[in-house]
Symmetry: C2
Subunit: 436 residues, 2 copies
């Protein structure tokens, strides 16, 4: 099993992350070689345009636009995919596995949508597929779920796994910035893409949650199983009210398993200020896992960036390479494929949680009674009420209500009824409060 | 490599942790069997007195007082050591390895003092030794250091890794309890031993730091390399002053690597209130690791208790067992033995840090000038001064000083000089401030 030669790496993609991986490999070859037992050598990188000028110059490895040149090269042992996007990354990964290559990928979209099949394929072919970099940047989280926490029955997973939105929400909360301004800052700093849809709509977090929940609960969870809601409706006012009530607002990815089944969802939530999750600021990420044995364990660190992502990718590469040198597992993937049928995935309708409602109402007597009456009809009881910002000219006032735990379906019915009350001018925002 | 039979476990010790392991194994055998690919069966437990009544009753496995009955049994694949203490645990572990058994241990003392040799022995014999439970209870920390963070050059490690003292310090800080009272509460709750020396003097934390630093810095670090100072000198007043200055007081285990070498130390420290470490309360532990790639990663969870410790032990057992079933690495230990000579371990003398000093002084004019003069002679400059609690009857006052970064050796000289000043009645406490 031991190799007397170098371990060859083929890079698919040479963007920010790919360049970070290459730079690290070139910066400290001897440290990595010592930990592996053999040198790591980049055999080449797949790029769209090999003629384009690169950050790395002169390049000590060839560029190619022909994927087969790397995927089928006899001197490539490990294919590292850092292109992102579903296609053609999926096809390249499958090609690499079928060519007998071990695969390390940072691709959350591919792993969320096709991870179960790719892992089964790798197992069948006797090669490894590793994807620590697909969730949480430089935070070890896939590894602990696949190995260290394996004796636990995990009951819940709550995470802040999108650094872009966490950066935006932190600036909105701390500096009172508008969403649009905070987003522009994030874009200027490179934390947000020119088209920020995937981040701000919660799609990226839903991909990552699908990956984590699949591992934590030993059942396939795909993005289609994860209802997601973004952060675009949040207003500075919501952060002010939340603070007054003792909460922060975070985009949470939540997956819970109980007797009724498994649920997974991504949405903004009010989180009590004294909890660790409320204190995760800026581009940081955190994943909180509850296990029957271990209790609550939280992993916190930088969720994105070239260097932290390179930490995860190269951690995977080093471990695969050590296996190739006979120092660790040879081929079989570290996680067993679930043999049971999938756990039933519950929709949001029977979710029970608490709610924060912000409404513009007519500034007149009896408004609160009417609202409380509608909520009461749906068996939803009030936990707190704040009434502020009366606007005498417009004859409106703002009411903020938090509720005791209530069923989501009932809350949706209540919201429909509230929106029809003449005294309710607008339901400005509805945010869930976690944990219940 | 695959086994068609059950995986046999021999338990050394059946105290609180051993009972937790056995109960978990008996409570969910099918979940564990599914994740492993074969059932786990306890073949027996080594105890001092097999006739004694046990929490587990009726016991579905035999008890023995003869270690060889388990260490050499042909149907024992994995020896789980949960006895604690250096001897005879060390001898049993070595015996087990030499008999070809894989070993899972929770023993911080043995791993801190002899881990390097035991790991080399296991590697030479082609068996595994795993010790996730030796540090941080249910928090995955050994695994991430041995595998997921392996591409990083780690520069520092700061940890709260003794739950007993963290519980005591939290109660002193939040409720103003005296050390002795908080300790008694901890003892009544089973968080502290009847003889609390190992915990309150920082010895337990030094063991754990030696283990973590060995893995993080790829060099042997033993408890003898870790100067340690306990929490017994801390007074309620120190917590009050610290709070006023914006700090919490925590027992920190710190190991830092820089161009001058490696340092490791355990002592109480003032930690800024807004940092994650300051917010680790009660019996929780946290480990903060800085890597050149990953940045700062923090792991937080329950640092002790039968269930969290069982999570770590059974995580190791499941992973060894999966290897025996052909699903993971067969034998080689997951960490390479360092081939370089050990990094130079620095003592405290050339440490540079900030300091908090609390002193009783004569209540007269010019005192502060005299103190500042002594500190100035040692090139130590003041960052803040609080003077309170003047006692007119005794003609004394209390002065609390924090300094800018200063060299430890100079501070020690300054303290000696200060203690000789007639105006200084007593130097009540000296606490380091972290990070610098």
């Amino acid at each position: 099993m031991a190799v007397d030669r170098a371990i060859g790496v083929g890079l698919l993609g040479l963007g920010v992350v790919g360049t970070g991986v290459a730079q690290t490999l070139l910066r400290k070859p001897s440290v990595l070689a010592e930990r592996i037992g053999a040198p790591l050598v980049i055999r080449g990188a797949l790029v769209r345009d090999p003629a384009k000028a690169r950050a790395l110059s002169p390049l000590p490895f060839p560029l190619t636009s022909d994927p087969a040149r790397l995927l089928e090269a006899s001197d490539v042992d490990i294919v590292v995919e850092v292109m992102g996007g579903e296609h053609p990354a999926l096809e390249y990964l499958e090609h690499a596995l079928r060519a007998g290559k071990h695969v390390v990928t940072a691709n959350k979209e591919v792993m969320a949508k096709h991870g179960h099949r790719l892992r089964a394929l790798a197992q069948q072919l006797g090669v490894q597929i590793r994807f620590e970099a697909s969730v949480g940047g430089g935070i070890p989280i896939i590894g602990p779920l696949q190995r260290d926490l394996l004796a636990n029955d995990i009951t819940s997973l709550r995470a802040i796994i999108n650094g872009t939105t966490n950066y935006i929400l932190t600036r909105m909360a701390n500096e009172g910035l508008d969403f649009a301004v905070a987003l522009r800052h994030a874009q200027e700093l490179g934390y947000a893409e020119p088209d920020p849809t995937n981040d701000v709509e919660g799609i990226d977090a839903a991909y990552k949650l699908a990956i984590l929940a699949s591992l934590a609960f030993h059942t396939p969870v795909t993005p289609a199983d994860v209802p997601h809601e973004g952060v675009t409706r949040l207003r500075t006012k919501d952060f002010q009210y939340a603070k007054e009530l003792g909460y922060a607002i975070k985009l949470l990815a939540i997956s819970v398993k109980d007797d009724a089944g498994l649920s997974a969802r991504v949405h903004p939530a009010l989180v009590p200020q004294e909890t660790l999750l409320a204190k995760v600021d800026g581009a940081y990420n955190a994943v909180e896992i509850k296990g029957d044995l271990t209790g609550t364990v939280t992993f916190h660190g930088l969720g994105a960036g070239a260097q932290p992502t390179a930490s995860a990718i190269l951690g995977d590469v080093v471990n695969v390479a050590r296996a190739l040198c006979g120092h660790a597992q040879p081929a079989a993937p570290p996680l067993s494929t679930p043999s049971k049928p999938a756990v039933r995935l519950r929709g949001l309708a029977d979710l029970v949680t608490r709610y924060y409602l912000r409404m513009s109402v007519g500034d007149q007597a009896g408004v609160l009674a009417q609202i409380a009456n509608v909520l009461g009809q749906q068996q939803i009881s009030l936990a707190s009420v704040i009434q502020k910002d009366a606007d005498p000219a417009a004859k409106t006032a703002e009411i903020v209500i938090t509720t005791h735990p209530a069923q989501e379906a009932r809350m949706q019915r209540a919201l429909e009824m509230l929106s029809k009350l003449p005294v309710v001018k607008e339901i400005n925002n509805v945010i869930r409060v976690e944990p219940v």
